[in-house]
Amino acid sequence: MSNDPYGAQVRALFDTPAHAGCLAGALSARVEDQGVRVCLYAELAGGKIRALRFQAWGCPHVIAAVEAFCAGYEGRLAAELLEFSASDLMQSLSVPVEKTGRILVIEDTVRALGSIARETSISDN
């Protein structure tokens, strides 16, 4: 039994966070809570998410989870952001239960980004 607190997937996502950074002129949402800061940037086109980037200050699980979210949501409908739940990420990355609050900061940020995307879409129409 391993006593490594991070699984291979968390290590890989933390080591090479391909979506770390920001997108100039893109939609953005930021949440700071539980000692964690998460900022998400999204470029949309035709109701779909064309590109996602993140900035994060937090533990390795937070960074891995937000990278996994960005990698998994590019190309999906912007409306799906409003229904995002962090529970799948918690499970797939084996995030310790005591870090639930931190991972929920990502959920809050994604949903905030979804709200901004919806408002932008309404005003564009």
């Binding site: 290590r11 933390f14 950074g21 930021r30 000692g35 998460v38 993140f54 900035q55 533990c59």
Partner: protein, 391 residues
Amino acid sequence: MTEQANLIYLDYAASTPVDPWVAEAMTALMTADGNYANPSSTHIAGRRSVEFIRHATGQLAALLNTDPGCLIWTSGATESDNLAILGAAHYRQVRGQHLITMRTEHKAVTDPFNTLQKQGFEVTWLDPETDGLLDIAKLAAALRDDTQLVSIMHINNETGVTQDIEQLGRLCHERGCLFHVDAAQSVGKLPIDLATLPVDLMSMTAHKVYGPKGIGALYIADRPGVHVDPLLFGGGQQRNLRPGTLPAQQIVGFGAAAAIAQSRMIDDRKHLGAMRDRLWSGIRDIPGISTNGAMECAFAGILNVSIEDVEGESLMLALEPLCVATGSACNSKSQEPSYVLRALGRSDELAQSAIRFSFGRPTRSQDIDVAIELYRNAISKLRGMAPERAA
């Protein structure tokens, strides 16, 4: 096992490798062709084991310039601390129940004091100054007529800050109370002369000084009123103070490690100082970096630094394959910021970002250069992906 070659180990304050000469001396007492007999046995093989133990006790006593009869073998510094603090407090409780220690002590000291508090003893917890040192005026003000025991560590295991135990001990003796020193980090590294130091009880361990894990010692001064009640019972060994079969091979290991430490203490300190200075020179220009505990009053084998705007747990992972510590090793699974650094006035965030680098005999300049590169890269990476703080 294959990862071992790539590791950069800078965690010698947590544990050191066993010196090859020490391992050789120990092995001779473990195998069928060696002196493995129980030293409590009265036959010739048992008596040989006793001779090995006597020799090793003499080696440790020589390092500390004390009488071998003042040393009690234990399983390590944690047991020594427990025996000293619980044992002395109970032995002297008819004289008074007031005790004094610092908030920056190791858990092996704070937990026994917490236990004594629950048993009805009164404990005064002293805060350090921001440099980590104890202001002797604070101790003087805390001492009372019913104070029985003061416990202050020599070298702090997290910061390396070294207390003036001679000055503190003298004050304790002037006021008629016992003085215990947790010297787990200092025995074999700093000169300690127990023939002249005003210390009544001193805890030590082998594995911080290139000896084996699982063996420590408690010095009990041969002076009136200096005594401890035992924690363990059965067998009568070591004057009933710490019964149990003596682990001859462990004791021989500690003795050999003590002898080696005595012979190379000056060279060791020069080397550690050079390693620490090289590391600090390589990272001190990073914006937001600061040392925990003043370097001018810290042991050269430890460098503890905090850094602004970097999350501590991510920093630890980003530093791999560098083996360093956050809080003390005994507490490193906790996500809580170090209570020692909080006592120095560090914020939760700065305490959580703290990294303790500690150096040893095997540390090479190349290791330090790799550590500098890894640390700078990790800071750069984590700061690069962090959003600005909210205004």
